[in-house]
Subunit: 738 residues, 2 copies
């Protein structure tokens, strides 16, 4: 997991897509293939291949994964499967030694004096913040040999989960009988906020109401917050991010993705006292060993119904992938102008590449009839158990049909909502045109009936904006608009009004976009001023083709967007019903979907079939030197300078990275891997490419693995490359001076 | 390519499948899915996805590959693409420096005194042959520091292609006008044999008539044969076959798959004089460099029509894969009895695993709608060019329809021919029953009307066999029969007579096979003797269930097998017509499908997208040490003892293996890779897993690559691991004493 594939944030770009992608909209979901378009309903029927697979597939019992909550650890399962008994003391110790790292990652205490281990890619923000014009610690790495040299990570805090309370009854009681879907959602949110407020006021802790199983259960989590936090050690970027973007989400891997920070007492001068910490395993884990991961997985979609999965498969994933590819091409184009332009878009480009890999990997799971067959089989068993109990049947029997109706409608309107949303792509002329149209339509009504934005002082601000010069590069605008037009051509039915207004006969999206941008007068303040004077009737007869298109877009969008919101609220209600049914049938047997809260996952160290052969359970330092040599030391596989310098001091056959069957996802970055004795054997930093489909169903037999740095490799590097003696001693002795 | 994936031999087991698999037979090709079985015709329609892809796909011009013949090298293409001009002298030199290694591999002269380079896996047979009870050269490697120490490779010879003559007109003229398909095939074979005989008699050379383009063109190839051949150098198996079966067909790779032999003059005491040899490139090839491969690719199927490809997809490949899986399970079961049993089946098991990988990799290509779309598009263009010319249209316009009719019928009868063939699996009781039935049916007719086997002395031998004790292990027999029954259940329609006779209600194949084997009396000589006396009528009323089943099998088989042979002859005729059309449209532009004769392929050194990241253009010695360490030195990744011992003397960053876009297949093993100056830069030993679908259509953009040992790595190993000074000197100086 790179720094950007962390929950719940993703990157800003991906957020933009996320919001757009989550939204529903319109029309046949596949490319408008020659011949009759399939109906949305037909598309939501599982394929014959998936149904045949469902007949044969055996369920494993861990379809929903192994991200267990600390309130319901699967003690019997662990005992039977691994002959491992987790005592209440063991569980409490493990919970308190684990922390959430800011809003993005996971971490753990590794000494009694506040030392915390996380990933280099999690600490990167801090490394950049403490760097100066003369000292770039990202490039050369950072090590504080004494407390005095440790440097403050601005705004960073660590949250330790100290208490859990079941507040399900109170939250559910807050929903008035007969409330609409939207009202129910609002009532739940309000009650959760009240509970959090009361809790913070009475305890001084950080309080969070967590909705488990998508609403079936509610818990109040109380956290002790540690701040300030200071940087102790980070290797140079070339070691911590060896292999860069290409090797991201892959294995075999050779990356020293680890860093250490320290929690301080509030005064910032004394290290925090952290008696609950993980001690270090000098031998680490070997193939076949049981290992646990504690951390904060961001989100998963394993409880979704087959109809919801088919919506993901038929629309949201392929649409998002189309959009990301277009973004990538656009950024490449921008980067081609100059080295400075390249530098400016580099981070965005990386973020898009990262999302593209993640979405494509998940999409491969949706396309896999084995995965889909297993999902169908699982749902069928669940449904049969509901149907077998008259009371459950009466209460929940219709939930799958209701969900299918919702998804069918979403599938029909989703592309239209997105493509007609004027703010979806960000073409300046489209945004301006939408602003202008909204203004004219608003002021044609009495002030009391207008949205707030079009009254009094706010109205004056809008008017000023519309009258001022707004510089835009027409080439950039045309490129951006072409993205929208290309998506429209792929995702809207041939007779959609958008297509009729956007395209002239035989135009490609590029040609149409250039024509629309070069002919519009929307960028001209005088033209806008004239229209603002002339009013709504004149607007409706204006000939400007882009303006006409945006008017049509706004008409469609304002009609469909409220329906999309209703459907989302209705889906939340069905999700909650589904969750209650799940709980009624399976009790606490199953782990809820991930919620960026503390979980514990079990697994074993194991290689897997890959590339026609076998991926080893671990890699060694030999491999890092080898991959650098394979590429003649080119970026991103350039040998880290410190590795090169200290080559002679290293035992190249020592393990560097390893893989296990534990269940993780974005947000788990920085999670410790611990053994039966709760000793650190490694730190998780990624999942392999085979693990991405686990978003929808957890499987280990298809090669999905957690990728971790090995505790032996960390120690080898700290000792023989970085000669970080004080840090090594603190890790081995479990503490240092405060 | 391991030693078994070499053309044209494959292994004996695979041969068995090959014959069976090539044969046509009966019924719906997919598993008898619930609901109506699709018709064969419907199955031979390309899928909508493939058709949609065909609309979009751009052809590359090298769909038929780059295995060029020396009589038609693509001089213009090379000049345009690589700015490389191949002079007639260059081509003659390269042709004469290349040799075919026995019946299995390729090789090249690398000194003027008969030194020949090939793969370790090609020379393995010789290494085993020269080993003794006390000296196992397979395990410890072999090196002859002087001529006197070189050891004779029994029966080995090397063939050098010295002359090529076009005999198309003579061969085609031998087919009488209006000949049936079978008669045409026979006439062509007879004429080719005559030409070869005349040639050998007049020149003393090895002569071979080669059918190019599946019969469109015929060439007489004259070879100078070199024998005897002696072993000069072979690394230990653990270096030459590092990574073993799992790493077979994969890359990144770390294998020193190279060996050297020497051609001698006929007397065996003086080295052959070979002035045409490849000199050694001390620097080897780098990323982006143009490299050529000369060698003898065994066979490819790129000229087959879409209908033929769909037959492969719908029946031959999946059926063969089902059968190979069953064989593998059976061999595992045998191996589980004792270490001795394991040793006995080890080679067979390896051969089956190897075939399974090859067939599965090829099948992935058949399942790939992009590949199939490209094939459809290619065929459509070809067909349009035929249709555009009235004369070509009249002559060849119907060939695709004719082929589709043939494939449709093959698809219908192929599974039935195979499953009803009594000799298909080799269950002793089934073989005996068939022998018994055939005997009784034969002797019920007058002697003159019987097949030859049932007359005079031969008849007595059959009778003796049928009367004698034939020991069989019933458990083994039942396991074998269960394989047949399982295939029958998967591949025959539910109402097939075979299924009605083989299964009782609700029986699994295992249960039915056990019942049939345990109840049959066919193994009892007395029972057989009784039936032999009683004759055909008694046989027909015999109640023995296995006997009744085999009687039905023979009835079906003898009815359908002749039709299968007719269809094959008819397919050969259509193949020949198709080839003539190809030649008429494209002339000599296109390379013919592989024929285990000398070809030259161009390509460049290049990595490729793999495993979510990038495979490097080369690997280094670091990687070999790394992969051994990754697996804790376990087999088949145990570090070769000599590498371990000489680790300190090695530069681990030197290249060991590398990949290029050249076009190779089984039979190319041992082919040299040469640069523009015809210097050795490496030796080919495998294709990666992505390259297997190239059987049906050549692509490089999907990551298919040739895997080779790097000339620098060979030199590094010879110098610093094996200290083979005399060999190193001969390679660098281009010769040694005779």
């Amino acid at each position: 997991m790179t720094r950007l594939f962390v929950a719940p944030g993703w990157s800003t770009l991906v957020l933009a897509i996320g919001i757009a992608g989550c939204a529903p909209a319109a029309a046949p979901p596949a490319a408008p293939a020659p011949g009759a378009a399939p109906t949305a309903r037909a598309v939501l029927e599982p394929s014959p291949a998936a149904l045949r697979t469902a007949e044969r597939v055996q369920l494993t019992g861990t379809e929903l994964g192994t991200m267990w909550t600390f309130e319901n650890p699967p003690l019997d399962y662990w005992r039977e499967r691994y002959d491992f008994t987790a005592s209440p003391e063991w569980l409490e110790h493990v919970r308190l030694a684990s922390v959430r790292y800011g809003q993005i990652c996971s971490a753990s205490f590794v000494s009694s004096t506040g030392l915390v281990m996380t990933n280099h890619h999690c600490a990167r923000q801090c490394v950049e913040a403490v760097s100066t014009a003369t000292e770039d610690y990202l490039v050369r790495g950072f090590y504080a040999a004494s407390r005095g040299e440790e440097k403050l990570c601005p705004e960073l805090y660590l949250d330790q989960l100290v208490e859990i309370e079941d507040v399900t009854a109170r939250v559910q009681a807050a929903v008035p009988a007969g409330a609409s879907a939207t009202a129910a959602t609002t009532a739940i949110d309000a009650e959760a906020e009240r509970i959090e407020g009361e809790c913070s006021a009475s305890t001084g802790l950080q309080c969070q109401v967590v909705s488990l199983f998508h609403g079936g259960q509610y818990r109040l989590y109380r956290y002790r917050r540690y701040a300030p936090v200071k940087l102790v050690f980070a290797p140079e970027l070339q070691a911590g991010f060896f292999g860069g973007d290409p090797d991201n989400f892959t294995y075999p891997r050779y990356t020293l993705d680890v860093a250490f920070v320290r929690a301080y007492q509030a005064d910032g001068s004394t290290a925090a006292s952290t008696p609950q910490y993980f001690s270090w395993s000098p031998a680490g884990a070997r193939e076949g060993d049981l290992v646990f991961i504690t951390g904060n997985p961001g989100s998963t979609s394993r409880q979704i119904t087959v109809a919801q999965a088919l919506y993901e498969k038929e629309y949201r994933h392929p649409f998002t992938i189309d959009f990301l590819r277009a973004q990538r091409d656009f950024l490449f184009w921008l980067a081609s102008f100059s080295p400075e332009a390249e530098r400016q878009v580099r981070d965005q480009l990386f973020s898009v590449e990262n999302s593209l890999k993640a979405y494509s990997g998940q999409n491969a799971g949706l396309q896999d009839s084995l995965l889909m067959g297993q999902k169908i089989r699982w749902e069928r068993e669940f449904q049969q158990r509901v149907d077998a109990d008259p009371q459950l049947r009466a209460e929940y029997g219709d939930v799958w049909d209701r969900m299918e109706e919702i998804e069918t409608e979403k599938l029909r309107i989703a592309p239209r909502v997105n493509i007609n949303n004027p703010d979806f792509i960000g073409e300046p002329e489209v945004t301006l045109a939408a602003e202008l149209i909204r203004y004219i339509q608003a002021v044609s009504r009495p002030e009391a009936e207008r949205p707030e934005r079009y009254r009094g002082e706010q109205l004056a601000a809008v008017e000023q904006l519309l009258r001022s010069q707004t510089p835009a590069n027409p080439e950039v605008s045309a490129r951006l608009l072409a993205i929208r037009l290309d998506l429209a051509r792929r995702w809207l039915p041939a007779d959609d009004p958008f297509l009729r207004l956007a395209f002239q006969p035989n135009e490609t999206p590029e040609v149409a976009a250039e024509r629309l941008i070069s002919t519009t007068q929307v960028g001209n303040p005088a033209y806008r001023a004239t229209l603002m004077q002339a009013g709504d009737a004149a607007l409706r007869s204006a000939a400007d083709p882009l303006l006409r298109l945006v008017r049509q877009m706004l008409e469609t969008y304002s009609r469909l967007e409220p329906r999309r919101e209703e459907l989302n609220a209705e889906e939340a209600v069905q999700n909650e019903r589904l969750a209650r049914a799940l709980f009624a049938v399976y009790g606490t047997e199953l782990p809820p979907d991930a919620t960026f809260t503390l979980r514990i996952s079990d697994g074993v160290v194991a290689g897997y079939p890959y590339n026609g052969t076998v991926a080893p359970p671990k890699t060694t330092f030999y491999g890092l030197f080898g991959r650098a040599a394979d590429f003649d030391d080119r970026m991103p596989w350039t040998l880290p300078e410190s590795f090169d310098r200290r080559r002679g001091a290293l035992d190249l056959s020592e393990p560097l990275n390893f893989v296990s069957t534990n269940d993780i996802t974005g947000g788990n970055s920085g999670s410790p891997l611990i053994d039966r004795e709760a000793r650190v054997v490694g730190i998780a930093f990624d999942g392999n490419i085979e693990q991405l489909p686990n978003e929808f169903l957890f499987r280990t037999e298809t090669g999905g693995r957690t990728v971790a740095v090995h505790s032996v490799g960390i120690m080898e590097a700290l000792r023989n490359i970085y000669r970080a003696t004080a840090l090594v001693n603190e890790l081995m002795q479990g503490g240092g001076p405060r």
